[in-house]
């Protein structure tokens, strides 16, 4: 119950402000608008407004600036404003895009915001021209009721003015509103108002003074899902080995009426036309042609519900979130793909390279609240600069990727409130010497080379302190007789030899050849000087004596 009350309050407030506008004396502009036609398309969650203005210079001085006015509530949702002029007659028409820039005026009534259209040729006194203006609003459809159940359809409010807000006097104006379906619950009447099917016509209104405002409210059904990407980070990594790797991180939310109560899978699956009509089941991403290695995953792994269709002109990736998104539900995911570099990287005339890539979000029909585009230049590139057709925030970062030493320069561009119109190309210029491409392979080669050299050196360099005895006596034959107190050398007997002439260095034992046989000499230890050698012998049978060959290994025999 709260929402309608609030809506009514706002309405009242706007009406008051309207009075204020109307009472104000018109500004001292020389321009006037002889005819204005406005078409508002409400079929998706992005509100498209096509405005055709016939502007006349009634003053004496030529002017090249035309102001567009927006109420402050709309300006926050304004994604883009474009203006163009058609020139020529009939078949030879050419379209000229005009510059549009936000402007601050000192005496703006009630915080009205302005955009200035700069004409290519100044409009002389008495002349008139026809401007086509397109602007888009996001987040302008307010769901009402704000929360719906699974089987209900989504109804939304749209607020605007029946009269075009303008600092100029408008002689004649008409507004057409197009709803997505014939189900229109209610709409404000400002006579003359007509409704025909899905379209509502306000006007024509004659001779309205500047800053006229007449709020209207339309309540209609809009069952299209409202995919809103709250945050999108696109990372474009250039590798001069021939690949352009794009990684896009999405935080997606369904911006429509919030889901209320239960979600019943059985209803959703058995009656898809009645249940969850406004739910977001899949999204379509339009990717560049020749895309390869596409992946679609989130923080807990691969998402298996996606299809890729490629042809020579474009690639389409159809992705389904893990679960259908109802109003207010969120999902995060990641799309990554590789592209052939030659399609996007070019050399400019001044021997610099530039990347030519699309700026916006590849998902169709989505609003992006915040977009960050990161272009990761190859290591060693210099003087980066970005050229973007609309204002963005820019700064530089450094990123370390595989085996980087100095790091890669990252050009970071940020922009808020994007619509598919922003999918235009931008360029990043930089200089790069191809020598840097070899840095990492060379580094690896050097590292392995050094490793092998170290191995070879270790095997060939004798770091031991040489023994004091240069005796050229490579072998000793040890004769062992059983000591008097033990009648026989029993299996596993430890024999001790005292060799006074032996230096305490490495000894190697060789297979003893005594009768009966020592099967195995399992161990030998060398005591402190005078050198004792303790042998653990494992005999196959008892014997009285055996002969053991001991080699003094340190001294290499000279043949």
């Amino acid at each position: 119950m709260e929402a309608p009350i609030r809506a009514r309050e706002i309405l009242g407030f706007t009406l008051l402000s309207l009075l204020f506008f109307v009472c104000r004396s018109s500004p001292s502009h020389n321009l006037l608008i002889s005819n204005a036609e406005r078409r508002i398309d409400l079929s998706s969650h992005i509100v498209k407004v096509y405005l055709t203005l016939k502007v006349e210079n009634a003053g004496s001085t030529p002017t090249s600036e035309i102001l567009l006015a927006f109420p402050p509530t709309q300006v926050d949702h304004l994604a883009t404003v474009e203006a163009l002029v058609t020139k020529g007659k009939r078949k030879k028409t050419t379209i000229v895009h005009l510059d549009v820039k936000p402007t601050e005026l000192p005496d703006a009534p009630n915080e009205t915001k302005y955009f200035t259209i700069y004409l290519a040729n100044p409009l002389n006194s008495g002349e008139s021209t026809t401007l086509e203006v397109l602007y888009l609003f996001t987040h302008s459809l307010e769901p009402f009721p704000a929360e719906i159940g699974q089987s209900e359809s989504q109804l939304v409010f749209y607020r605007d003015s029946a009269l075009i807000l303008s600092p100029y006097h408008i002689k004649q104006q008409t507004t057409f509103l197009k709803a997505p379906s014939t189900k229109v619950e209610s709409f404000t009447r400002v006579e003359p108002t007509n409704r025909a099917g899905t379209e509502m016509k306000y006007g024509p209104y004659e001779d309205r003074p500047s800053y006229s405002f007449s709020p209207i409210l339309i309540h209609f059904e809009n069952n299209s899902p409202f995919p809103v990407v709250e945050e999108l980070v696109r990372e474009v990594e250039i590798s001069h080995w021939g690949n352009l790797q794009v990684t896009e991180q999405y935080t997606l939310v369904h911006g429509g009426a919030r889901h209320k109560g239960v979600f019943s899978r059985v209803d959703y699956q058995s009656r898809p036309s009645l249940n969850g009509v406004s739910s977001l089941r899949y999204l379509l991403a339009r990717l560049p042609p020749r895309v390869h290695s596409v992946y679609y995953r989130d923080e807990i792994g691969n998402i298996s519900s996606s299809h890729l269709r490629t042809d020579s002109r474009k690639s389409e990736l159809e992705i389904e979130p893990r679960y259908p998104l109802f109003g207010g539900w969120k999902a995060t995911f990641l799309i990554g793909y590789g592209l052939p570099l030659q399609d996007f990287l070019f050399e400019s005339s001044d021997d610099r390279r530039y990347l030519n890539f699309t700026f916006g979000c590849p998902l169709l029909d989505t609003v992006v609240d915040k977009l960050t585009v990161k272009v990761v230049l190859p290591e060693g590139s210099k003087d980066p600069s970005a050229v973007v057709p609309f204002p963005v925030e820019q700064h530089f970062e450094t990123k370390y990727s595989y085996l980087d030493v100095v790091g890669r320069t990252v050009v970071v561009m940020e922009k808020k409130n994007l619509v598919p119109v922003h999918n235009s190309h931008f360029q990043v210029y930089y200089t790069f010497k191809p020598m840097f491409m070899l840095a990492e392979p060379l580094m690896l080669t050097t590292a392995f080379f050094l490793f092998f050299v170290a191995c070879v050196a270790y095997l060939h360099i004798d770091l031991s302190i040489p023994s004091m005895s240069p005796r050229n006596l490579p072998k000793f034959r040890l004769k062992y007789h059983s000591p008097p107190e033990i009648p026989q050398i029993t299996p596993r007997h430890t024999a001790t030899f005292v060799c006074r002439r032996l230096p305490p260095s490495v000894l190697t034992l060789h297979h003893p050849t005594a009768g009966g046989g020592c099967h195995l000499i399992s161990h030998l230890t060398i005591g402190p000087p005078p050198c004792c050698i303790m042998l653990s012998l494992l005999l196959l049978s008892n014997s009285h004596s055996l002969e053991i060959l001991v080699e003094h290994l340190f001294v290499a025999p000279s043949p």
């Binding site: 239960v262 979600f263 019943s264 899978r265 807990i300 792994g301 691969n302 998402i303 298996s304 893990r322 679960y323 539900w329 969120k330 999902a331 995060t332 370390y400 990727s401 595989y402 085996l403 980087d404 095997l459 004798d462 770091l463 031991s464 490579p474 072998k475 000793f476 034959r477 040890l478 062992y480 007789h481 596993r492 430890t494 024999a495 001790t496 002439r501 305490p504 260095s505 490495v506 000894l507 190697t508 034992l509 060789h510 297979h511 050849t513 195995l520 000499i521 399992s522 161990h523 030998l524 230890t525 060398i526 653990s536 060959l549 001991v550 080699e551 290994l553 290499a556 025999p557 043949p559």
Partner: protein, 791 residues
């Protein structure tokens, strides 16, 4: 005692050939080892290729989450980490209750890679830790077996271990569990023990303690080491094999190892206070007594020695009796006699099922069946006895250790399926020895029988080829002393020297050797056929291992696939549900589910859970079990008292996924009934049979688990046919009064319900009175009081 005689050796010039052969053998075995490593790594990648690079199952998700925390927050925060996301409202001190070896290893690898600017994600590192460590484990097996029976047996054992299915089952890519690194640590510790035993080097003894420390860090199975090694030491002492090497191998291990083990927070004072470690201390005392006796024996005359022995024995016995009595009294005063439940269930296989349903409920704690032996170690089961016989020819300290290892691990694997993993390396080592000895004998006979091969050449070849012959074995032995003393001369010159030694003796040996060979030689045909059969056996093993790796053990279990006529069908419901929870519930909401899904919920959904797979608090798990087995209202009260907002159940009835909550439900009843006696298992069984069809008991049909699983199930096909239980369910149409369905995944495998707000309670009570079941309300209320320890 014996005077050294010098003899000059004429160095023959024609032995460069042998040097080259030796060098070739070394390089060859190096490359074979490298290939074994590659094999061990790549055979475990089936899961990544067939599915995706993802963490598997349940416990690995916890380890993964801990590793993420470690890499994000650093080591000190990791030690002090109190996790409030789990065991709500108790929480869990992760740093003090987790074996940190695995996470620290993966964290170190990650840190190392990132400091080299190789930006691999923590997940990737975790996924591939197990395969990397399997390669290490097979190299450790090579070293261990080489110490026991020479390089040939080592290589064979390493190949066998690289692809033994039992080990693969725990170490496929993505199976990021403690066992992944622990098996390597286990084998490597044993290797260092044998190495110390063979060399008597204190250096290796120290390394051994450090390896033991790593093992303690990694896995609770370290108690196997600290019991097996004392057993072996005792065996050596009893069989009269005591030597100073044995002392050096054992005493430092106990002292250093225990000190190091006590540094691991999860072990701490358990390293000296629980019975699992007492055997090592006892043997530590014994070995000192024995060493002392040997010392005394050396300095006293035999007569005096006898007197001393009688004196000491009489006094010593009295003291020992007193000490043992005190110890027994101390141990007996603790309820579990100082043994933890899991260890007790090892010693007494029936212990767990009798007393601890929570241990018995885990399938991997059940005793294995015979087919599982064949599945997990395959032909090794037949080779093991041969290997044991080979170990007795001759029995050395090292080979007696292998025999003891295989004997104990066979016993333990018979108690718990999970410990099949400990058996696998032992089986590989013994089988490697058996195969290598068999090949040795057979190829030797063939070589001997082949006409046209001169005796001289034969012996020559026998000494240098394939490094499995006796001569080579001895050479390996003889090489050891060189390594012990610190002379670091190049391998090449060593080899050269060895050639020079070999020559004169070889000439003398030729005759005896040839005679020996002739006696041992088998007929040519017989040896050729048996050789062929052995190769076929090996081929069979390889085929089986590849099959096991590809088909049986590669499923990550969080994503399921089924092949049908119209292609591969993917069931990704678990992640769908976790992802939904992660994004569409409040960050502090508590989710209740059976404990199997606790780790996954915290890791993937990042939501607080009531119980998880670390089953340390039986009462808490029993509370959830009780709630699941109670009627709706009582369950609502329990959950509400635990501040639970969502209840998650796993239901496989629609697609036929058998390990769902309905199949696990009896364990919930048992565990719940173990703590809260008003839950009685017979109430849920009809004539001792567990069923959910129309014959099921009213208690069963009214319990929360039944209702949450089958809520509106009938609307899918009209009959409510459960594909897992293969029957129509008993109660088809019912409503939920205290819970509402908020999410069900695509294939209905996970269903999430939300607790309705408390204001609905009054309405629920009036409605509920109608559907009151046989269980009396008085016992229910008394149960509720006990059920809510936080009221």
């Amino acid at each position: 005692m014996a005077a050294p005689e010098t003899s000059t050796a004429a160095v023959p010039t024609l032995h460069t050939n042998n040097t080259v052969r030796n060098a070739f053998g070394g390089v060859l075995s190096f490359f074979i080892l490298l290939l074994i490593g590659v094999l061990a790594f790549s055979i475990r990648l089936f899961s990544v290729i067939k599915y995706e690079s993802v963490i598997h199952e349940f416990d690995p998700y916890f380890n993964y989450r801990v590793t993420q925390f470690l890499t994000k927050k650093g080591i000190y925060d990791f030690w002090n980490w109190f996790d409030d996301r789990t065991w709500y409202p108790l929480g869990r001190v992760i740093g003090g209750t987790v074996y940190p070896g695995l996470t620290l290893t993966a964290g170190t690898i990650w840190w190392l890679l990132n400091s080299l600017n190789i930006p691999l994600s923590v997940e990737t590192v975790c996924v591939f830790t197990a395969p990397i460590f399997s390669a290490f484990a097979s190299w450790a097996t090579y070293l261990l077996t080489k110490e026991v029976k020479g390089a040939g047996a080592g290589l064979t054992a390493a190949v066998l271990l690289a692809m033994v299915p039992s080990y693969i089952s725990r170490s496929v890519a993505g199976s990021y569990d403690n066992e992944a690194v622990a098996i390597f640590a286990l084998i490597f510790t044993f290797y260092l023990y044998i190495k110390t035993l063979n060399t008597g080097s204190l250096f290796y003894a120290t390394l051994n303690s450090i390896a033991y420390f790593y093992m303690v860090c990694s896995w609770g199975g370290y108690t196997f080491i600290i019991n097996l090694i004392p057993m072996h030491v005792l065996l050596c002492i009893v069989t009269g094999r005591y030597s100073s090497r044995l002392y050096i191998a054992y005493a430092p291990l106990v002292v250093l190892g225990t000190l190091l083990a006590a540094l691991v927070p999860v072990v701490g004072f358990n390293a000296v206070m629980t019975s699992e470690h007492f055997a090592s201390f006892l043997v530590f005392i014994i070995i000192h007594v024995v060493a002392f006796v040997y010392y005394i024996k050396g300095i006293l005359s035999p007569k005096m020695f006898k007197v001393a022995v009688t004196l000491v024995v009489s006094v010593g016995l009295a003291v020992c009796c007193a000490v043992i009595a005190v110890l027994i009294a101390l141990v007996a005063s603790s309820p579990t006699k100082g043994w933890s439940g899991r260890s007790l269930s090892l010693l007494d296989p029936t212990y767990a099922s009798k007393y601890i349903p929570i241990i018995a409920s885990v399938s991997e704690h059940q005793p294995p069946t015979w087919p599982s032996y064949f599945m997990d170690i395959n032909v090794l089961a037949f080779l093991v006895p041969a290997g044991i016989i080979a170990c007795f020819l001759p029995l050395t300290d090292a080979s007696s250790f292998v025999v003891l290892y295989i004997a104990t691990s066979v016993y333990f694997s018979g108690v718990m399926v999970r410990l099949m993993l400990v058996l696998a390396p032992a089986a590989c080592i013994t089988s490697g020895i058996a195969l290598s000895e068999a090949f040795d004998a057979l190829t030797g006979s063939i070589k001997f029988q082949l006409p046209g091969v001169s005796t001289d050449a034969e012996v020559d070849a026998g000494e240098t080829s394939s490094d499995t012959t006796e001569a080579q074995n001895d050479e390996v032995k003889a090489e050891k002393p060189e390594e012990t003393s610190k002379d670091r001369r190049s391998k090449k010159s060593k080899k050269k020297e060895r050639e020079h030694v070999e020559r004169p003796s070889a000439k003398a040996k030729v005759k005896t050797k040839a005679e020996k060979k002739r006696l041992l030689a088998l007929p040519l045909e017989a040896s050729a056929v048996s050789l062929l059969l052995l190769i076929v056996l090996g081929a069979f093993y390889v085929v089986h291992c590849v099959w096991a790796a590809a088909e049986a053990y590669s499923a990550p279990s969080i994503v399921l696939t089924s092949r049908s006529r119209d292609g591969l069908h993917v069931f990704d419901d678990f992640r769908e549900a976790y992802s939904w929870l992660r994004h569409n519930t409040d960050v502090d909401d508590k989710v209740a589910s059976w404990w199997d899904y606790g780790y996954q919920t915290t890791a993937m959904a990042n939501r607080t859970v009531i119980v998880d797979n670390n089953t340390w608090n039986n009462t808490h798990i029993a509370t959830v079990g009780t709630a699941m087995s109670s009627p709706e209202k009582a369950a609502w009260e329990i959950f509400h008292s635990l501040d639970v907002k969502y209840v998650l159940v796993v239901f496989g009835g629609l697609v036929g996924y058998p390990s769902d909550d309905i199949n696990k439900f009896l364990w919930m009843v048992r565990i719940g009934g173990g703590v809260f006696p008003h839950i009685k298992e017979p109430d849920y069984l009809r004539d001792g049979q567990y069923r959910i069809d129309s014959q099921a008991t009213p208690t069963m049909l009214n319990c929360l688990m039944y209702k949450l699983s089958y809520y509106r199930f009938v609307e899918t096909d009209g009959k409510a046919y459960d594909k897992v239980r293969r029957t129509e369910i008993g109660k088809k149409y019912f409503k939920l009064t205290h819970f509402e369905e908020v999410f069900t995944t695509h294939h209905w495998m996970v269903r999430i319900y939300k607790l309705k707000a408390p204001k609905n309670r009054i309405r629920g009570k009036t409605k509920k009175s109608k559907s009151k079941t046989s269980s009396s309300s008085s016992s229910k209320t008394s149960g509720t009081k006990k059920k809510n320890p936080w009221h």
